[in-house]
């Protein structure tokens, strides 16, 4: 009797686990079904199939500008977070500064703080400084909430690195920056991609900070869905959600294929 067989989970546990996995996918399936449904509420079996809601979303300027705004914010804040976060993580990794443990905690603090508190704090701060509704203000707010993910993944990737590899590059004639660019950066890249993906998704997902800071004319996609649900449900929300589900699924599968994304979670 091999020891793997001895420890194998039993049928009861396996069945429970698969039920839980199904529970996790349930609302996803429902949203997709609703997007193709002719009725504004869901029935089983569906009353009829239509692509009309997708057409409505893709021709609605409100949705389109919200999608654009979300993408600008997500791309911009991820880029800034990557540059600032990797630089900071690298300095922490090289242990040239005192109190690096306290500094790390500070960089991670936005994760601990309830997002709604960060939101209202920035609302007051931006109202006083006139940044409210500005793109710069929004970008920096998103950097605050996304940068911990980049720092965390950069620190994790760096900690697995043999310091001698960078020293080897230095002795072979590379300047400090060259050694980082040619050796360290390529080696931590897979971990950074995972961190960037988390950062991107966090920005794209965010309501509790964004909702306090946007101007009436420029909203993001999740804030738009959030407010339209308060107004009353329309299947076009399901259609735009389905588009997001599709995009998320594709990105996840690509990241898994290319980098083995599940290792970085």
């Amino acid at each position: 009797m091999s020891d793997a067989a001895e420890n194998r989970p039993g049928w009861g546990l396996t069945a429970t686990a698969f039920t839980v996995v199904a529970f996790l996918q349930l609302p996803v399936i429902v949203v997709v079904l609703a997007a193709f449904s002719t009725t504004s509420y869901l029935t089983i079996p569906p009353q009829g199939l239509t692509l009309a809601w997708f057409g409505k979303v893709l021709s609605d300027p409100t949705y389109l500008s919200a999608i654009r705004m979300s993408l600008i914010l997500a791309c911009g804040s991820t880029l800034i977070s990557l540059v600032l976060g990797v630089a900071a993580a690298y300095a922490l990794f090289r242990k040239v500064l005192p109190g690096s443990e306290a500094v790390t905690s500070f960089l991670m603090a936005p994760l601990v703080m309830p997002a709604v508190v960060v939101g209202v704090a920035l609302l007051q701060f931006y109202s006083m400084t006139g940044l409210r509704g500005s793109l710069v203000g929004l970008l920096l707010a998103h950097v605050v909430i996304t940068v911990p993910y980049v720092v965390r993944s950069a620190l994790a990737s760096l900690s697995g690195l043999d310091l001698a590899v960078e020293e080897a590059a230095r002795v072979l004639g590379a300047s400090g920056f060259e050694a980082f660019r040619l050796v360290t950066l390529p080696l931590i890249a897979p971990g950074l991609v995972a961190g960037a993906l988390f950062s991107f998704i966090t920005s794209l997902d965010n309501v509790p900070v964004t909702i306090f800071l946007i101007s009436a004319s420029q909203t993001t996609l999740p804030v738009l869905i959030f407010s339209s649900v308060e107004m009353g449900i329309d299947p076009s929300v399901a259609a735009v959600s389905t588009l997001l589900i599709l995009a998320t699924g594709i990105v996840l599968l690509l990241a898994e294929r290319r980098f083995g994304f599940h290792r970085f979670v």
């Binding site: 001895e6 420890n7 194998r8 989970p9 546990l13 396996t14 429970t16 839980v20 996995v21 529970f23 996790l24 349930l26 429902v30 949203v31 609703a34 509420y41 029935t43 089983i44 600032l84 976060g85 630089a87 900071a88 300095a91 040239v96 500064l97 500070f106 960089l107 603090a109 703080m113 309830p114 997002a115 709604v116 508190v117 960060v118 209202v120 704090a121 007051q124 701060f125 920096l140 950097v143 605050v144 940068v147 400090g176 997902d205 309501v207 509790p208 909702i211 306090f212 996609l221 999740p222 869905i225 959030f226 649900v229 308060e230 449900i233 959600s241 997001l244 998320t248 599968l253 898994e256």
Partner: protein, 283 residues
């Protein structure tokens, strides 16, 4: 190699951004939380009071919301633990070929937009939603059961939202339990159930604690899901803060509530880290 000055230069930009756009704004809420707000007139200049804090403890409505928030935190954490452990155990100890697909199915809903997931639960739980329709078609119930805008709705929705976090923490914890130790217990005559209770469970305790703290803190801080599934009437602390700011414009009261919420989150994290340290000391 790298000098202290170079290190400082690398870390300074991020420290500046976080100081200017996180630390300072949060600290500036502090004076606001002692301010006095007159409905219709706004902030009263120069006046200050402790009322915003005292009302959190004395006012019946605030107290109800706080207890509700904490109650949700505990129930959601418990349910996540009960649902998450079997799944995490299967991922950590089950057949190799299931591992990656299962992990991806756990990550997928986590990466999915929170608003979209909450919207899915509205479609499921509404009076004319999927569950009520199905039950009525099957003749189990005659009239729709109220599943939204109450405890049940938030309980189900929040459990779904934060379950993946719990599962991932538990997977890491269970995989850290050396299989040799489990095998050793088995060869010493333990039944499978006893191996689990005597070895696996205690050795994964720190992971269980970490996952529970994470889910608890996320749950009591949640804004989007409670708002979407609870509506404007069934309030938790985060939605109350949102309304104080956006609807009532009572910033002093909202900022006091913000500090109360932050205090609760930080206190629970601090307590758990004390606990983990004590465990580590025992090991």
């Amino acid at each position: 190699m790298m000098s202290r000055r170079q290190g400082l230069l690398l870390i300074a930009p991020l420290l500046l951004v976080l100081t200017g756009f996180f630390l300072v704004p949060v600290l500036m809420l502090l004076p606001t939380s002692f301010g006095v707000y007159e409905p219709g007139a706004g902030l009263v200049n120069g006046a200050w009071s402790l009322k915003n804090y005292s009302q959190i403890v004395t006012d019946d409505y605030y107290r109800e919301v706080i207890w509700r928030t904490l109650g949700l935190g505990f129930s959601v954490t418990l349910l996540c633990l009960l649902l998450g452990y079997p799944l995490a155990y299967l991922i950590a100890r089950g057949p190799e070929r299931w591992r990656v697909p299962l992990i991806l199915l756990v990550i997928f809903p986590m990466l999915l937009n929170l608003v979209v997931r909450s919207f899915g639960w509205i479609a499921l739980l509404a009076n004319r939603g999927l569950i009520n329709n199905l039950l009525m078609q099957l003749g189990v119930i005659g009239a729709p059961v109220k599943l939204l805008f109450n405890f049940i709705g938030l309980f189900i929705g929040l459990t779904h939202i934060y379950l993946p976090f719990m599962v991932l923490m538990l997977v890491a914890a269970i995989r850290n339990v050396p299989r040799d130790v489990e095998s050793a217990a088995a060869t010493l005559g333990s039944s499978r159930a006893h191996v689990f209770m005597a070895v696996t469970l205690p050795l994964s305790a720190s992971g269980i604690l970490a996952g529970s703290i994470l889910v608890f803190v996320l749950t009591i801080s949640a804004l989007v899901t409670p708002r979407m599934l609870g509506g404007p009437t069934y309030q938790v602390m985060a939605t109350l803060i949102y309304d104080e700011y956006m609807q009532l414009l009572d910033w002093p009261s909202g900022s006091a509530l913000s500090f109360a919420l932050t205090f609760m989150a930080v206190a629970i994290i601090w307590l758990s880290s004390r606990l983990t340290k004590r465990w580590a000391g025992m090991a």
